[in-house]
Subunit: 371 residues, 2 copies
C-alpha cells in the first residue's frame, strides 16, 4: 500500500510540510550569506529578480481563487520537471502561521505583500537560498537570485539558466514589441530588477550621501532604504536598483548597476581613508563606545541595533575591532530580527521583552570576541 506522500507528486507532498520546512529553515543562516563575495566589506549582497507571467491567465490581482491555484500548480510542476532549482522546497503561504511568514520576509524570500496575500501564493526555494521563486505576488512568477558581495554576473548567470529552463515548461506572456508582459507597466520589458545593498557609513559620516544620491539619481537608478520601496535608511545601508526595464537589454541593466556599485565602492573607500587620516581617534572612539554599549546594554531595539551594527561593521572593515569570527556579524543581523528571535530564542511577541532578550543575545555573543 502507498502512503499519501508516495501517491502525490514531490512538490505536493513538500507543500504539505510547509510549516516544518520554514521551521527548519529559520534555524539556519543562508549559505549565500555565509560566503563572503567580492567587495563584501562594502556591498552586502546582489539580488536580481525577474517578473514573469503565464499567457492565458489573469494577472494575480484580478484572477479568481481557483485560477491562482492553477497558476501556482503549473509553476510548481514546471520547477519539479525542469530541475531549474536544485533540491527545491515548496511552501504554501496559506499553510503558514503569521510568525513563519515573517521569517520568510526577514530572509527576503517573501515580499511583505506576499505574506498578506489571500489565495494560493507559494515560495519555491533552491538549496542554500541562492535562488527562489514566488508565485502570485504582483506577477505570476517572481524569480530571484542572491549573491554575497558585488556579484552581478554570477547572480545573472544562475537566474538566466533558471528562467530558460522554466520557459521550456511554461507559456510566458511575451510580446515581440514590448518584451515580457507584467502586471505593472514599470516592469514590462526585461522584467528585471537588479539591486545591490551597499553599506556607506563613511559617506554618511562625512555628510556626502545627499550629493552622491543626487548624482546617481540622474542615471535612472533608485537609491532607497534596506527593505526596499517605502522604507527609511537604517544602518547606513542603501539599496541601489535600476528604474528602467523597457528599451534596454538585460546586459545594459547589469552593466549600469555594476558600474554604479563600483563607483560607490570607490567613493566609500576614499571616505574611509579620509576618516582614518583626519578623524582616526574620533572614529575609534565611536566604534568602541558602541561596542561597549552592545556589551552592556540591557535592552536593544531592532532599529537602533542595526544602526549600531553599521559602525561595528565599519570598525571590523577598518581593523579597529578584531577577534570576530567571519560570520558573527551576519549571524547577529539575521537572528536579532523580530521573527527570527521568536524562532531561535522563543522570544516574546512583546516588543519590550524582545528588546531585553536581544540585548542578552548580543552580550553573550560579543563575549566570544574576548575584548
Amino acid at each position: 500500500m502507498k502512503t499519501p506522500s508516495q501517491i502525490l507528486p514531490d512538490w505536493e507532498s513538500s507543500l504539505l510540510n510547509s510549516a516544518q520546512q520554514v521551521q527548519d529553515l529559520s534555524l539556519t543562516i543562508p549559505l549565500w550569506v555565509e560566503k563572503r563575495g567580492p567587495h563584501s566589506e562594502i556591498v552586502f549582497s546582489t539580488r536580481i529578480r525577474l517578473a514573469r507571467n503565464l499567457a492565458k491567465h489573469f494577472f494575480p490581482s484580478s484572477a479568481p481563487a481557483a485560477e491562482l491555484t492553477t497558476v501556482s500548480d503549473e509553476v510548481c510542476a514546471a520547477v519539479s520537471k525542469s530541475g531549474a532549482l536544485t533540491q527545491p522546497t515548496f511552501v504554501e503561504m496559506d499553510y503558514l502561521a503569521q510568525l513563519d511568514r515573517l521569517v520568510l520576509v526577514e530572509r527576503r524570500l517573501a515580499s511583505p505583500a506576499l505574506a498578506d496575500r489571500k489565495g494560493s501564493a507559494r515560495i519555491i526555494l533552491g538549496a542554500g537560498e541562492y535562488a527562489s521563486i514566488m508565485t502570485n505576488e504582483e506577477d505570476h512568477l517572481r524569480l530571484q537570485s542572491f549573491q554575497s558581495g558585488l556579484s552581478v554576473r554570477a547572480a545573472w548567470q544562475k537566474l538566466e539558466r533558471i528562467d530558460e529552463e522554466l520557459s521550456n515548461h511554461l507559456d510566458y506572456a511575451f510580446s515581440q514589441q514590448l518584451g515580457f508582459l507584467t502586471a505593472c507597466p514599470t516592469n514590462t520589458g526585461t522584467g528585471m530588477r537588479v539591486s545591490v545593498l551597499v553599506h556607506l557609513p563613511a559617506l554618511v559620516l562625512l555628510d556626502q550621501m545627499g550629493k552622491t544620491s543626487r548624482k546617481f539619481a540622474k542615471l535612472g537608478l533608485t537609491i532607497r532604504g534596506f527593505f526596499g520601496e517605502g522604507t527609511e535608511v537604517i544602518g547606513n545601508v542603501f539599496q541601489i536598483s535600476n528604474q528602467l526595464t523597457l528599451g534596454c537589454s538585460e546586459d545594459d541593466t547589469l552593466g549600469l548597476i555594476e558600474q554604479v556599485a563600483e563607483q560607490l565602492i570607490e567613493l566609500e573607500q576614499k571616505a574611509r581613508a579620509q576618516l582614518l587620516a583626519d578623524k582616526k581617534l574620533n572614529l575609534e572612539d565611536k566604534v568602541w563606545r558602541i561596542y561597549g554599549v552592545l556589551r552592556y546594554a540591557r535592552s536593544l531595539s531592532s532599529g537602533e541595533f542595526l544602526n549600531f551594527l553599521s559602525l561595528i561593521r565599519l570598525g571590523l572593515d577598518l581593523k579597529i575591532l578584531t577577534g570576530w569570527s567571519e560570520t558573527l556579524l551576519q549571524e547577529l543581523m539575521l537572528v536579532t530580527q523580530p521573527g527570527h528571535m521568536q524562532k531561535w530564542h522563543k522570544a516574546s511577541r512583546v516588543t519590550e521583552k524582545r528588546d531585553k532578550l536581544r540585548a542578552d543575545i548580543v552580550k553573550n555573543k560579543l563575549k566570544l570576541t574576548g575584548q
Copy 2:
C-alpha cells in the same frame, strides 16, 4: 651653624617648600573624601566657610602689596602659634606654577579667584584637608572646613574651634551692630556660607528639578552648579547654600541648610524608588550602557565624564552595579580632572591627548570591577 630653615619660623620654611608640598598633596586623595559620611549616597560633601578680616588693614582689593604680605604673615604666625590647624602646611600661591594652582582649585582648597591673585595670597592646610585657610582672597581670611556626606554640625564644630583659637591671636574686624565686617556686604554678619553638594539624578531624570529649585529658592537659598557661582550644573550635582549672613545666627543657617538637605534627600529617595518601580529596565539599561561606554571609549572629555559618573553613582547606590571598591568612584572623580591628570599621569596640556588618556585611565580602573 644653622641652616636657613632652622633660623626661620616653621611656617616660613614651609612656605619655601610650597611647590613640593602641592606636588605631594596632588598624589593623594583627601582623607575627608575617603571617609563616607552620613547620607553620602546623595550628599557628596558639606563645606562651611567663614569670611574674616583684620582690623586696621585695608581689604585685599585695595591694600598695597606690602600690606598683603603683612596680613598673610600675621595669619600664618597666628595659625602656627595657636595650633588652630593640626600639622599645618603653608603654601604661597606666588611660588606655584599654573598647574599647581589648578590642582588646588580642583581640590577646592583655592578659589579660582585666589589662583589668579597678584601679591601675597596663601593657603594653610590642616591634616587630611578637613580644614584650610585662604589669605587675601576677597577677605583677609577665608576659613573653611569639609566633611563627607551631610555633616553640618561636625563641620561647624571643627571650624568654630579654629575660628575661636585664631581670634585669640588676631584682631578681627567686628562691629557690635553688624557682626563680622567683610569686603562684600553680602557676607557681613556671620561671614558664614554653608554649602552642601547634593547629587539628584533621579529628580533630574523625572524632570522635577525645576519645581524643586523654585520651591527652595523662596527660603533664602541658592541652588547652583558644582563649582559654585556662575557654573552650570554638571553631573546632576547641585550646590545648596545660604544667601543670608545678616540678621541670623550661625545656628539658624546651619539648621536651614540641614533641614533643606534632609528634604532634598527625601525627595531624591522617593524619585529613585519611583524610577525603580516604573522604569527599572530603562534605568538599568542607561546605567549599563554608560558603564560599557566607559569601559571601551577611546576618548572622554572632562564634562561628559562627570555626567556619565552621575549615572554610575546612581547605579552603585541602587545596587545595579556591584563589585566596585568604596573609593573607586571618588578616586576617578578626583584624578580625572585636568590638573590632577597632569600630575598623576604626566598628562599633556593638550585637551585632545588628555581626553584620550582619561579614557585609558578609566578603562583600566573599571577592569578592576570584574564586570
